[in-house]
Amino acid sequence: MARHDQRVGYGLPTILAIVLHLGILLFSVMRFPEQEEAPPTSSIVQATLVSTETTTNQAQQAEEARSRALAREAEEQRQAEEAERQDDEAEQAENAEAQRQAEEEQQQREAEAREREEALRAADAEAQRRAEQAEEQARLREQQAEERQRQEAEAEAQREAEQAAEQARREEEAAAEQAREAEAERQRQAAEQQRQEEAEAQRQREEAAERERQQELEAQRQREAEAERQRQAEAEQRRQQEAQQQAEEQRQREESARRAAEAASQGLDRAIEGESEDVAAARQAQQAANSFITLVRRAVEQAWVIPSNSPEGASAEVSVRLGPSGELFTASITRGSGDGAFDRSVVQAVEAAAPFRELRELPSSVQRDYRQFNLRFRPGDIR
C-alpha cells in the first residue's frame, strides 16, 4: 500500500481518506438516531405493558421483544462489520482518530446491546414470576371456594335436620290439636243435635202459628206490593209528565225568546204557535202508541188458550187489521205452526181479545198507523 502511495503521492490518498472518513462520519451520523431510538423505547414500552396484561401475554410479548432485539442486534452488527470492512478497504491506518471513534461507537453500541439483553432477561423473569403468582392465587382461590362450599353444605345439612325436627314437632302438635278439635266438634255436634231436636220441636210448634202469620203477612205483602206498584206507576207517570212538562217549558222558553226576536222583525207569532203544537202532538202520539201496544199484548195473552197437545216449540204469526174504532177486520195466519189446533187457537185469541177500542185514544194522526200489525205467538210461559 505504501508502495502504491509512493507511486501516486500523498495528496490524493489523504483526500480520499478524508473523503472516506467524512463519508463514514456522515453515514454514522445519519444512522444513529435510528439505532438509538427504536430499541430502548420499544423494549421499555413492552415491559410496562407486561405489568398490566396477563401472564401469558407478558411471556409472549417478552419473547417477541427479545426476538426483535436480537434481530436488531444482528442488523447492527452487520452494519458495524460493513462499516469496518469499508474502513479496511479505504485506509486501515489512515486515521487513528476515526478508527478510535468508530471503536468507541462500537463499544458503546455493544454496551447498549448488553443493557437491552439484561432488561429483556429481567422482563422474562418478571413475567415468569407473575405467571407463577397468578397461578398460585388461582389455586388459593380455588381452595377457598372449595372450603366455602364444604362449609355451606355442612350448614345446609344442619339446617335441614333442624327443620325436619321442627316440622315433626309441629305436625305432632297439629295432630294433637286436631284430635282436640275433633273431640270438641263431636261434643258441639251432640249439643247441636240436641239443640236442633229441641229447636225442631219448638219450630213445629211455632210453625203452625208461623204459617198463619205468613199467610197474613203474604196478604199484607201483596196488598203492599200492589200499593207499591200503584205508587210506582203513579210516580213514573208523574215523572214522565214532569219531564215532559219541563222539556215543554224549556222548549217554550226558547221558543218565546226566539219568537220575541222574530216577532219584532216579522210578526209571525201565530205561525210559530201552530208549529210548536205539532211537535208536542208527535211526542204524545208516540207515548200513546206504546201504551196501545202493551194493551194489545196483554189482551191477547189473556185470551190465548194454548191447546194441550201443541207441539213443542210451535209458533205462528198473525196479521191483524183493525177498523177505525179498533174493531177487528181480519186476523189471518201469515206463518202457520203446522198444527191446525195451534193456529186456530192464536186466531181465536186475537178474535177474543178484540175489539181494541183504545185505538181511538191514539191521536187521530197516527190511528191509521196502528190499524195494521203482526202478532207473533210463541208460548214461553204457560200460566
Partner: protein, 428 residues
Amino acid sequence: MKALITTWLAAALLMFGSLAQADLTIEITRGSDRATPIAVVPFGGGDALPEDVARIIHDNLARSGYFDPLERNAMFEQPTTRDEVRFGDWRALDARYLVVGTARQEGDGYRIQYELMDVNGERRMLGEVVTASDGELRGAGHYISDQIFEAITDIRGAFSTQIAYVTARGTGEDIRFVLHVADADGHNSQQILSSDEPILSPAWSPDGRKLAYVSFETERPAIYIQNLNSGERVRATSFEGINGAPAWSPDGRKLAMSLSKDGQPEIYVMDIGARDFQRLTDNSSIDTEPSWAPDGRSLVFTSDRSGGPQLYRHDLASGESERLTFTGNYNARGRFAPDGESLFLIHGGDRGYQVARQALDSGRLVVLSDSSQDESPSVAPNGTMVIFATQQGNRGVLGAVSADGRSSFRLPSAEGDVREPAWSPFLD
C-alpha cells in the same frame, strides 16, 4: 222560514213513524193451558127424545180433558140455529165455540141437525144432519162428539169406540164372571160371555170384530177368539200351564201370548191361520203381558229377569230384548200409544200402583192417575185417553185419565167388581 222548516221536520217525523209502524210485530209469549171453553146448547126438541144428545156431547167433550163445557144454567139463551145466535152474548161468557142444534123424531128414527160455531170468528165450522134409528141415539151423540172434537183439535175423536171389560159378581160358589162390551162412556153395556170360572185379558182384534180372551171354563186356562157379531168362538190355545195375555198383531194375523208349556212363562207368537208358534223369549224368569208396537216390528212385555217386574222391548228382526223402564222397582203392563212414541204402563211407587206414561225417546216417566190401585191400562185409539181398572171402596171400577193427566173420571158400570178393561180400535 225557520218555522216552515221545523213544521216540515215534524211532518216528516210523523210519516217516518207511520212507515215504521207498518212492520210492527208484537210478541205474544204467554197464554193459558186451561181447557178450551165451549157451550153445547140443549138441542131444540130434544126434551121429547129418550136421550139428551146435547148432554152426551157435553159429557164426552168434558171427559176428554180438552174442553171445559159451559154449564147449562149459565146460558142466557138457548138458540137452536145459527140465525138465532147472538155471538156477543157467548163472547161475554167467554165461550170459544158454540154447538147448537135440533133433534126430533122422524119415522122410526131420529133426525138431528147440529152446527158448530166459532164464537169470536162468528163463523160456522160444521153443520150436519144426522139420522139415527131407534136405539142409536147415543151413537149419534158420540158421532157428533167425534166431529166436533176433530174440527177443533185436529185429532180424530174416539167417542164412538167401545170398551170390553170383565165383571165379577157374587162370592164363593155363586161367583159369576161376565165379559162385557160397552160404549166408550160405559153406557150400552152388552154381555158377551158369562162363566163360573174367571175370564181374563180381553183383547180387541185390529178390525174391532173379534175379541181374544182367557177363560178358565175348562180344566185349565185357554185362549179363545170370539166373533162379536156372530158370537162364534174358537179355542186358540190350551197348553198345559199358563195360557195368558193374548195380544193381536197390528195386521190381525198373529197373536202374541204368554205360555208356560216349556217351563217358565215365555212370550210366544202364534200365527192364527197356520196355528204355529214361535217362541220369542227363553230364560228362567217370567215373561208376560206382550203388546205390539203399532208398526208390528217389536213387542213390549213385562219380565222379572232383573228382579222386579220391568218392561222390555223385543225386536222381532234382531231377536234382541232391551230393557225400557228404569224408574222405580215396578213397571208392568206396557201398552203402546198409537203413535208408538210412548208407553202407558202401571208404575208402582210410593203412592201405590198408578197409570203412568213413559216417553220412549227420553225415557221420562210421568204418573197420570191419582188413584192408587190401578191395573190393566188400555189406550184409546186416538191416544188421548187411557182406561184402567182401579179400586173404589171395596170394589173394582173403571177409571179413565187423559193422556196428559189433566182430566180423569170414573166410568159408570154395572154392579160388582169391574176388571180388565180393553179399549177397542176405531170402529168404522
